[in-house]
């Protein structure tokens, strides 16, 4: 079986800074792949490379059998790749429904306006925003805007969804809700590549995890393996709290298994 997404020795530098270095990995269809790493590790940059915001300086990115290296974002979106932003980017003076209609209109299906609106409605329901459909995006709370990011990406009916810290800034109840939403999305057969700092959440959500540090892959494997990896623990030593969380997970790997069944 071929990979849905395959990165081959991808590199990106900003001036003197090598933000992503010789990174290779494959992602299966239907998988939730977690991406973790300290701040500034190059995770968001990697997303920007995959969906074409930046062209890589080296390497290749193949999505669904198509070489998308260096293609423009709107071309890549048509191939069925959607994302959310770490810093939310709503169309502030449009309603939630209109926001999502943009996603549906110009996404993988390239729907006409009417059908796009139906797809948008569906995505809004999945994201739990149905009572906000007619609200202007700028009147949403942070949690609402994060859900809108998700709904808008989902409305595009992507094959692969890139989620950049969708849980950041949410309170525990909102986090729980959002995790439920992500699981529901995966159940619809959409593959998910997710960046997250909340160890608890990402460990339980992901099938596999890749750890990034200084733009390089530090480790890759099942959540429990990764959490036990001494190199990973060392990379997180700059952030003792995270390291502690990681170790907490390594000691109780049982929780991972159960998390996969919704």
């Amino acid at each position: 079986m071929t990979a849905l997404l395959s990165l081959q020795k991808v590199g990106k530098r900003f001036g003197g800074l090598q933000a992503v270095h010789d990174l290779s990995f494959d992602m299966r269809q239907g998988e939730i792949l977690g991406l973790i790493g300290p701040n500034g590790a190059g995770k968001s940059t990697l997303f920007n490379l995959i969906n074409g915001v930046f062209a890589p300086n080296s390497g290749n990115i193949v999505f669904n059998g198509i070489d998308i290296t260096g293609q423009r974002p709107f071309v890549i979106a048509r191939h069925g790749l959607a994302r959310t932003h770490q810093i939310v980017q709503p169309f502030t003076n449009m309603t939630v429904l209109e926001n999502c209609t943009v996603g549906a209109c110009f996404g993988r299906e390239n729907l006409p306006l009417m059908r796009a609106r139906d797809a948008a409605r569906e995505a809004i329901v999945i994201a739990g925003l149905e009572d906000r459909a007619a609200t202007l995006a700028l009147h949403l709370t942070i949690a609402g805007k994060k859900r809108l990011e998700l709904a808008r990406a989902l409305a595009a009916q992507p094959m692969l969804l890139l989620l950049d810290e969708v849980l950041a800034g949410l309170n525990p109840a909102e986090i729980e809700h959002m995790i439920g939403v992500i699981r529901r999305i995966r159940d619809r057969g959409i593959s998910i590549l997710i960046i997250e700092h909340l160890m608890q959440a990402i460990m339980s959500l992901s099938d596999r995890i890749i750890v990034l540090n200084y733009g390089e892959k530090l480790a890759e494997g099942a959540p429990s393996e990764v959490a036990r990896n001494p190199q990973v623990i060392e990379a997180y030593l700059g952030d003792p709290k995270l390291a502690e969380q990681l170790q907490g997970h390594a000691e109780q790997p049982a929780s991972n298994g159960s998390a996969r069944h919704v």
Binding site: F74, Q89, V102, F106, P112, M114
Partner: protein, 344 residues
Amino acid sequence: MDSPITPQAMETVMIRRPSVRGAAIITRPFFWLITLVVAIFIVTPAIGNNVELRESLLLAAVYITLASNLNLMLGYAGYINFGSIVFFGLGGYICVWLVNSYDWPLWLALLAAGVGVSALSFIFGIGILRLRGPFFALSTIGIVEGVQAFVQNFTPWGGSSGIYISPAVFAPLGGPARALWVVYFALVAVMGLSLYLSYAIKTSKFGLGLLAIGQNEDAAAILGVPTPRYKALAYSASAFLPAIVGGLYFFKGAFIQPSDAFDLTLSTEAIVICMLGGQGTVTGVALGAYLYEELRGYLLTSETFSHFQLVVAGALLLLIVLFFPGGLMGFIYSRFPRTQRLLE
């Protein structure tokens, strides 16, 4: 909203309501509203052969056309075009030149002007629309300089002394007096087309993409909106009807020269009108154009103000930008939210 209306609040309620309804356009009330306006423009001056009213409405029609096409860029896609006058001027030149030097019939010359200028702006657009926001705006100023310099040095178009149309050209239209009516009706038709076009685009997928670009271009591209093509298309579409209006306008005047054809006052006024009526709205721009024409008529007849037309336009624009960024429609929408569903 019953809190005091701050500019920020105005910005939030104004404009940018892409209609996501899909029913055929002629079943919508707004379509008939436009038709009504066009009918009024046709009928009222024709009653009793009212030439004075006709001339005033003619100018209003020119303003409405220029402003509503400018609105495609400014109000929908969020790009300021300071140089929309080049569409008007170049259209005028192409039309006058074809009619005068090659004896083309007026309608064909107008079409050529529209198509030619649109094609040219599509090519320009692909280039300068790679520039974001303010840089695009700056380069549109440069385009005016560039085109003007070209025309001034282009001998087939008479360089800086321009082109005079020989009166014989009016013969096919039934002589000069009747030709003025023909030109007027043609102008009103173009105005009507502009309004329909603005409305049709606004309620289309294309319009939704443009509005998304206007709000957040990066996010729009990431969602799959083909931003370069859409922007260039909008820019090019916004050139078509103004070029035809330029053709009609200078055909009517029987004379064209660079300083009139590329007079920045007109494109400046188009910006003022867009902002006055409410950028991004179709109704507002028409309303703004009409009001501005009235105001201007008053200023020109008033001794004190006639020299200071620009000052008044500038002051008006400044006040709108500072205190009413939603323009008239923003104000109306916020006071009477229901109107938003009827008046696009």
